[in-house]
Amino acid sequence: MKIRNFCKVLILLTVFWISAGFAQPSKILIVNSDNSVYRYQTIATEFKKIIQQNAYQVAELNLNSHADAETELKQLIQQENPGLIYTIGTKAYLLARDYTHNRKLLFSAAINWRRLDIAEGTYGVANELASAQEISLLRYFLPSIKTIGLLYSDKFSREYVESIKKDALSVGINVVTKAINEDKEIGDALNGLLPKIELFWIISDPVVLSNKESVKTIFQSAQQQKKPVYAYSDVYIEQGAVLAVSADSDTIGRQSASFVLMMDKDKVSEGTVQSPAGSTITLNKCVLDALRLNFNKDALDSINKVVGCEK
């Protein structure tokens, strides 16, 4: 009788321990490409805030702090045994993907993730907004623009440009494109393109933006023909872009954390890569006024930064 009771207690205890083990969120290893980069630091901070609120344990590796980051990563994985590795930046992803050993991997802030070799069990929050988001936001701020133009290289951006055309068409915007093979073609391509369009869109294409001279040519030509420039990053505002729309870093961190919580509830399909859910908008009012563009005043409350003519 005593042995039977003892066995019952033992079974109950085992069930308790097992269920407690399952309820415990797993440990997450954050691999940050460079935590001295403000954007990466912001993503990590917001991610940790939510993850730790939900009782996850966190270990961190900042690649910029270690001469031999690869060895450090291997040791840390062995020591901490994380259930998931969260990478911030391309460098961190490229290093961590070889050491996941069947663990889940979630990447963020990896530039143009479609060009990366994505293994099974990998999830992500993209660095760039979806083309449909960018077009919708452009339409929100500058509703009168109906024809936009862009330069791209077939080798790097063909699929992206195809999606832009499709998304733009669905909201009534016509996209005129011109493919180039090398930066020397930019001047002639712009001369042909600019007269046909109302706004020029700078996309993140490595051939079009291969050097400072190319960027200078774009802005000089656009200014001469009085065409506004829409950009994917606010670094182009100072050079004369009228509007820049990019992904919001805080939101990428929070979104990545929500992603992890949903993954642990089996609410995310394997291999899902989400577009960033938040945007940061910069408006160059100096250029806007100079070109007398029709700006949607109702959208002013959605602008993060208004840049005036004063330097």
Partner: protein, 262 residues
């Protein structure tokens, strides 16, 4: 090295102290904090408002992104005006802070708006939001309270199983549903109208799962009944839509004018 550090320390204390004392002598101020938005546009707001207000009575504008810091500013002297949400005002009144509504913000002639919980049409009722992400702009506390109100007593228990994703603005929240980053979104009714204008296909895919009660856009309040100095400042605020620069500043706050409460 130690000597350099000591000099730097003394210098920083002096600079901060001098700045603070100079700052304390300025004003009166218009203090702003709004938990219903999450846009980090404070530098542009401050510059825009200060340029306008300095020319209209020498007032200054001070936006806050931390609720507690804003609340500690309210405990101060009479003479300042506070721009805040009605939701926040009610919470402060419950803490016995004697804020009194002086003006309410208007947008296209309205003073009130409702918040909508919207999702794609395959989410047929709120119970399907269990273990999903709901996007919204504003503080998490505010989004939780709106969600609680929309869910009602019957579905209130769902709250603990819903993950809130805070995004910078309403339009991000609604688009997050369309692009699959969230299952549902909390946004103002007017933001859904904006989506219908900029992306009608995405708007057609959405439907409403519930709405909140109507509430004011933005409030201009004073500590107790406004005195003569505060009345002057409120008058400057009220006249802002008459000038282009003033109207532009108000639009950055999501309103286009002010109205006195009857």
């Amino acid at each position: 090295m130690k000597r350099i550090l000591s000099v730097l320390f003394i210098f920083s204390v002096f600079v901060t102290g001098a700045y603070r004392s100079a700052y304390a002598d300025e004003g009166p101020f218009i203090y702003f904090y709004n938990p219903e938005t999450n846009i980090n546009n404070f530098a542009s707001l401050k510059r825009g408002f200060d340029v306008y207000l300095v020319d209209h009575g020498g007032y200054l504008f001070q936006p806050f992104d931390i609720k507690e810091t804003f609340e500690s500013a309210i405990q101060g002297k009479k003479g300042d005006v506070y721009l805040l949400s009605n939701w926040h005002l009610k919470a402060l009144q419950q803490k016995n802070i004697p804020l009194k509504i002086a003006l309410v913000g208007t947008s296209k002639g309205n003073t009130m708006q409702r918040k909508v919980l919207s999702a794609k049409k395959d989410i047929t009722d709120v119970s399907m939001l269990k273990n999903t992400v709901v996007a919204g702009a504003g503080s998490e506390e505010y989004i939780q309270s709106v969600l609680k109100q929309i869910l009602g007593k019957d579905q209130e228990a769902l709250l603990k199983d819903i993950k809130i994703l805070i995004v910078p603005k309403d339009i991000d929240a609604i688009m997050a549903v369309g692009f699959g980053m969230a299952t549902a979104a909390i946004s103002a009714e007017s933001s859904l109208e904006k989506l219908a204008m900029i992306n009608p296909n995405q708007h057609r895919e959405l439907h409403s799962l519930g709405v909140s009660e109507k509430d004011y856009f933005l409030i201009a309040a004073t500590l107790k009944k406004p005195d003569q100095k505060e009345e002057q400042l409120l008058e400057v605020l009220r006249k802002m839509p008459d000038a282009d620069a003033g109207e532009e500043n108000l639009r950055m706050l999501g309103i286009d004018g002010w109205r006195a409460l009857q």
